[in-house]
Assembly symmetry: C2
Homo-oligomer: 202 residues x 2
Amino acid sequence: MAKGLLLVISAPSGGGKGTILKELFAQEENLRLSVSATTRQPRPGEENGKQYFFLSREEFETKIQTGQMLEYAEYVGNYYGTPREPVERWMDQGRDVVLEIEVKGGAQVKKLMPECVSIFILPPSMQVLEKRLRGRGTEEEATIQQRLAKAREEIPHAKEYDYVVFNDRLEDAVSDLRAIIHGEKLKFSRNTDSIERVLEHA
Amino acid sequence: MAKGLLLVISAPSGGGKGTILKELFAQEENLRLSVSATTRQPRPGEENGKQYFFLSREEFETKIQTGQMLEYAEYVGNYYGTPREPVERWMDQGRDVVLEIEVKGGAQVKKLMPECVSIFILPPSMQVLEKRLRGRGTEEEATIQQRLAKAREEIPHAKEYDYVVFNDRLEDAVSDLRAIIHGEKLKFSRNTDSIERVLEHA
């Protein structure tokens, strides 16, 4: 069985990534969403291995030191990161694993697993992004301005990604992602046994 | 308008490349098939620019010396090759251009235009290839053996290509090629203006 892909997907907040991924998962049953690890306390209703893997600070730091974290960051006194082992296990089972991640984490993963497929989801324009953020109707002006400023910082990092997908029409964005996945599986570098497979029956 | 892709497609003879390309062209109207140049005499019914561009030896050699041939070879006293200008013109018009080419020519093109997308079409197995060659019912045993020997020589060159597509079921092979084309157009390296396009409307 061919090894699955590791898909690193980033997008500015408000870019509609959530909706796109939901639809992608509905259409591609071979996908699995990576679960992050954290040292923060579980909240009521949260299950270990579901929302997060809950680790002690010592466990988390050991995983960092032994290269078992694909990426991590510290945020308000707690660690957050992506444990390598479940990702690798799924890939070995032929599943394609999606890492939904910020640009700094994306860069760390690309370094550790250069064979990953990295995709940046872009809004069609800053105006559209602003409109979408306002359209939620739930956020204060200051929050909206913060998110826009963050998006302006993040978007230039698209150049560190393998692919860009515009989030204009939902169905186009999903079809773009599916074509990327389909095409990547046909790379010779992911099928190095293909020559032997053909010739050994000579 | 985005520049078109240059698709370099190779396959062992008898691999069913003709059928696949015919179906691909039927489904993708943006494709153009590159026309080769030759120094051999036109045969009755052949038109310049249609089956071939017919060039004199001097014209052909000038094009080689000035880098205007993407690839070429000499065969039974005549030159055959791919003129660069019509390919570039189509690509600038946003068309995707298909070069149907042997492995030696494919390697030359990859060197001159590394941004090309190279695809090797593999038979599922040597037995299937042999069956297909015999199934034509038109060829003598010696010719079949020659083609099989040539295929065995060519297939290992698949490793020099970006992608491999198995010619098992026609519709799968065509869908594979379409996914490769679709995905390649989303590469950041082919959309380097995307960041500015989003941010300039900030």
